[in-house]
């Protein structure tokens, strides 16, 4: 089974809901930290939820270049496919 990028984006939006306290409208280009005004620990906590949903690990060092939801969706897709 493959998970499309759109499906991943939708799922990420759902998982981000508890962290998106300012109810920012989420788009693929939304910068997870800057646009949502959430701190570094909350970003890592959010990523942990993503890891659990997809049963993958996203090493923290991969996150340094992951800024937007679209960036994260790509990383998730890659980790699911094992690349």
């Amino acid at each position: 089974m493959t998970t499309s990028n759109d499906e991943i984006f939708e799922a990420l939006c759902g998982l981000l809901e508890p962290f998106n306290t300012q109810k920012v409208d989420l788009k693929p280009t939304t910068d997870i930290s800057a646009d949502l005004n959430i701190d570094s620990v909350s970003v890592m906590d959010f990523v942990m939820e993503v890891e659990d949903k997809y049963d993958i690990d996203i090493p923290l060092n991969l996150l340094s270049e992951t800024r937007t939801l679209q960036d994260l969706a790509v990383v998730v897709e890659q980790r699911i496919s094992g690349s």
């Binding site: 701190d39 570094s40 620990v41 909350s42 993958i56 090493p59 923290l60 060092n61």
Partner: protein, 402 residues
């Protein structure tokens, strides 16, 4: 664009804090009177937030050793050990620590923060994977990043979560290092060491425990959580600091690995910073002797921790840890509440730490106390009384805030 524009939000947050009272993140102590007392705002104040667990900062023997070192070896070393020379006293301290910790090798670093940077970047490299507890101290996060290793964060104190992540990462090449803390600095809880050690039978990894807040306190000899749990042989590397129970500044890494000494040549935070000053080394060396010779200090901090913990429980405060610990953190509703209460506590005569996200787990706002062996029972009672006046009346607000 101005480089520092990105810090505008910090300036606003700090301004808001100042508008609510004093500078909770930069409090001026006008005169230090003892390990547990200082003049703050012109008033004598009980210090219950300085991590001075053993009250070692005013120990007469440590002060005498520091003075002698100043006279005999000068004010500073003016350089790094590998470039500018090792003083005999650096090596003497490493030997004393080696004997105390029962580890073959010890490397002294210039601060506790650098001990984690130095050990983690010396142990792991870009081909390795470090698994770190989610609630790890910033120095562990920074050391992990400095190593260039793949970093996998597991849920706090959750060995099953680590197990799952190790299985997922089973095909990754390179070595594996798991990093835990003896006592976690914000909530005061301990790592369930036996649960993690059990995973060593299933997965091949090295285990490092940071005993910064547990050294001198846990275990019959104060060697930390690993000693208390009877699992020292299972812990491959120990890190600790001199700036808490030893009352000075500096840190160490210790282990038995045959190549341990090579960390001195592979660790930038060791190689490229000035070595600890003679007075620091001398006071720490004496403080280690004191820790070994005075088990009554451990009895005192356990007694005092128990008194504060039970007292706060009796007030119905929400504590972040369900075991007695020298770190007693009280959860409050939100940042403005924490700031308001912190000011009222200082005005009432007790200094504690304010701890706010992202420096805390799970977005919590804390009034964090650290207990000292040097506190008198009367001082602890006074701290409880002041919390009864300032914090206890707000219990309902926290419940409402969820």
């Amino acid at each position: 664009m101005d480089l520092l524009d990105k810090h505008e939000h910090l300036a606003e947050r700090h301004k808001l804090m100042l508008s609510l009272g004093g500078n909770a993140v930069g409090l001026r102590m006008e005169k230090i009177l003892s390990p547990t007392r200082a003049i703050i705002g012109g008033r004598e104040t009980i210090l219950a937030g300085t991590n001075n667990y053993m009250g070692m900062t005013f120990d007469p023997a440590c002060i005498e050793a520091g003075k002698r070192a100043l006279d005999e070896a000068g004010t500073g070393t003016t350089g790094a050990r590998i470039a500018n020379g090792t003083y005999a006293m650096h090596q003497d301290l490493e030997k004393v620590l080696s004997g105390y910790l029962k580890r073959e090798h010890v490397i002294v670093f210039s601060t506790g923060y650098q001990a984690n940077l130095g050990m983690l970047s010396g142990l792991a490299g870009p081909n390795d994977t470090i698994f770190l507890d989610a609630d790890s101290h910033s120095s562990i996060y920074d050391g992990c990043r400095m190593s260039g290793a793949k970093l996998v964060r597991f849920r706090h104190n959750d060995a099953a979560d680590l197990d799952k992540r190790m299985m997922r990462m089973a095909d990754e090449p390179g070595g594996r290092l798991v990093v835990l803390e003896g006592i976690y600095s914000m909530f005061g809880d301990r790592a369930p060491l036996a649960d993690f050690v059990a995973l060593k039978r299933k997965h091949d990894f090295a285990l490092m425990v940071d005993e910064a807040h547990s050294l001198g306190i846990l275990g019959d000899n104060g060697r930390g959580l690993a000693e208390e749990a009877g699992l020292e042989d299972e812990v491959d590397f120990v890190v600790g600091t001199f700036s808490k129970s030893l009352g000075a500044i500096g840190g160490f890494g210790a282990g038995n690995h045959r190549l341990f000494e090579m960390i001195r040549f592979a660790s930038r935070p060791y190689m490229f910073t000035a070595s600890p000053s003679p007075a620091s080394i001398a006071t720490v060396t004496e403080a280690v002797h004191q820790l070994m010779a005075r088990p009554e200090l451990r009895d005192a901090i356990r007694r005092n921790s128990e008194q504060l913990y039970r007292g706060f429980k009796g007030l119905g405060l929400e504590l972040c840890c369900d075991t007695v610990s020298p770190v007693v953190a009280v959860r409050v509703a939100d940042e403005p509440t924490a700031i308001r209460m912190w000011n009222a506590l200082v005005n009432g005569g007790v200094y504690v730490n304010i701890a706010l996200p992202p420096g805390t787990p799970n977005g919590t706002c804390l009034l964090r106390c650290s207990v000292s062996a040097a506190h008198t029972p009367e001082e602890i009672s006074r701290v409880i009384d002041i919390f009864a006046d300032v914090v206890a009346p707000d219990r309902g607000a926290l419940a409402a805030a969820g």
